[in-house]
Symmetry: C2
Subunit: 342 residues, 2 copies
């Protein structure tokens, strides 16, 4: 039987005095020239980036002229890059964004789900109202895609389909910044129904470094857009995730210097803006809690942060778990080996 | 860096035309003599069996004399082996079991959590009542442990601790049927607060074969108890899990011939009773949905079942997933390679 070489263990769940679960994966950290600074596992293997590249997809807002046409501000751009928790301020922000572009929630094709923030979910349930597309964590991105359709002067109907002019442009933008051709041979449908395209993990890390650094490899419009999108997201972290969200807390600790974005099934992409470092990781089994521990361990291993930041990262690399009685029974932690890959 | 040899991929999540997530693990199928019939990965590595061995822990009900003393019936024994979904008939059954042994729900030390069955959870929430220890999926096992304390004539207070006479006896029973010494060097606390002891995966498979076959390796009391416990569980599958539960549905398809028990963090143990085959599996990353697919693939690969059973197993080896809009976006499936390990 042929079996591809396994990626290394990047996170472990310890119960009592034994490892109970192991989470393998790959990560890659690159500098502004795209050179690998640290990596583990097969970084050339194709992954689906899922929601981790909403900021790359948002380049279409610049390319189409939507940013100028609708005078989009940093809050709009942060929402376009978000996987939000469905809190009231997210819903209000998306409604303002929709109004600005002359669209309504009925135009959103992302589907409805309950708010991911528990307080918001309980509050909505108490009103007896059903969750709507506005509560979908991707409603900001979808509003951005409606803006692209408007700027292109095309009907937005079916904008989630890969052959619609909106997705064609989004794909072109992502290809340009990745430097990789995206093909239907490696394509799936995302949770919010738009296409997700497979590409090498290393290419996503490189794209984030380019977006952060305004690389000469990119046309000026992309470089400027990258800088603006990352700044908008990193300084409006509550809009990108929400209250108590992992990305929000991490970006706030870095006070604008970190662009961090989670993607479903154990993906993270990000950049340390001041140092023009880009990174990407994929937990092989798709476990999100493990991906959280790994990205915290990864940021910690990159090092060079103020002590206050290192201390916060240390609290996120190990996540103790309590049982129903409140006994601490174990903890999920990033593998100490991560530091050895640099 | 030393890296232990990776276990093989036993389940995959396919999105579009690419594998998105990979779930590695180990499994072992043995005959009544303990000889390996099929296996994958490191079957000698220690795992925590978690709730998959409630039936082995329930041997203490026989060893202590509790079964005779309280005239326990098959429903009581099935509940002692259960990880139930907290439906009303489970709560009623546990209350009857508690009354029979002269205990109350206040004696249970498992902690409270909401019913795992959604309809039961919603119904309880609608009454405004808080979840109690009775709804804890382990309340049947804990009631059995209270019965052991009563039969031993000791106070049940603190029966969840590893040095309490109840847990000492439970550990002795499990050691006897495993043929493995359980030591505090490989021990953790389970979700319901009792100890979980690490032992080789192969030993759990062998124990299930012994329990099923009434092996000569076991004292008569264990062999008889094993047969009675497995029959009680396999023919009262609704009590062992609940409505729509994976174990319940699988055992019902096999009409009493399959003893199957899930454990947290991706564990399954079981036996094909008519063929005296025992099996055990552990998904390395602890993913439960993957473990479901793997055990279905494993049962299918063992083969020799009527066509009707094979057809049902086929529906469980591949689990299609729909997104918020109802589009089928991918599926979790057992690796076709499983058949090659036999």
């Amino acid at each position: 039987m042929t079996e591809q070489k396994a990626n290394p263990v990047l996170a472990e769940y310890i119960r009592g005095n034994m490892i109970e679960n192991r989470h393998r994966g790959a990560f890659c950290v690159v500098d502004q020239n795209g050179a690998i600074v640290g990596s583990a596992g097969d970084v050339n293997a194709l992954i689906y980036p899922r929601s981790a590249i909403k900021s790359l997809q948002a380049l279409a807002l610049f390319q189409s002229g939507a940013v100028e046409k609708f005078n989009l501000n940093d809050q709009d751009l942060a929402l376009a890059c978000s996987s939000h928790l469905g809190e009231q301020f997210h819903v209000d922000g998306v409604l303002r964004f929709l109004e600005k572009i002359g669209a309504t929630s009925a135009d959103l094709e992302c589907g409805a789900h309950a708010p991911m923030n528990k307080i918001a979910r309980t509050a909505l349930r108490a009103t007896g109202a059903q969750p709507s597309a506005l509560h979908n964590n991707c409603s900001g991105k979808h509003t951005g895609m409606l803006a692209v359709a408007k700027a292109l002067g095309v009907s937005s109907v079916g904008y989630i389909e890969r052959d619609h002019p909106v997705q064609v442009l989004v794909r072109e933008c992502v290809e340009r910044v990745l430097g990789v051709e995206l093909t239907p041979d490696h394509c799936g449908r995302d949770g919010c129904s738009i296409p997700t395209w497979g590409a090498p993990l290393v290419s996503f890390a490189q794209a984030f470094a380019k977006m952060s650094s305004g690389s000469n490899d990119l046309p000026a419009i992309y470089a400027n857009a990258g800088d603006r999108l990352f700044k908008a997201a990193a300084t409006n972290a509550e809009l990108v995730a929400g209250t108590g969200g992992f990305d929000t807390d991490a970006m706030n600790v870095f006070a604008g210097d970190l662009m961090l974005k989670v993607g479903a099934a154990g993906v993270f992409c990000g950049a340390l803006r001041g140092r023009n470092l880009g990174f990407a990781l994929k937990c092989d089994d798709g476990n999100m809690a493990a991906a959280h521990a790994i990205v915290a361990g990864l940021l910690s291993a990159i090092g060079g942060h103020p002590d206050a930041i290192q201390q916060v990262l240390a609290t996120k690399t190990a996540q103790p778990e309590k049982n129903w009685r409140g006994f601490e029974v174990g903890q999920l932690q990033s593998a100490t080996a991560i530091a050895s890959y640099f």
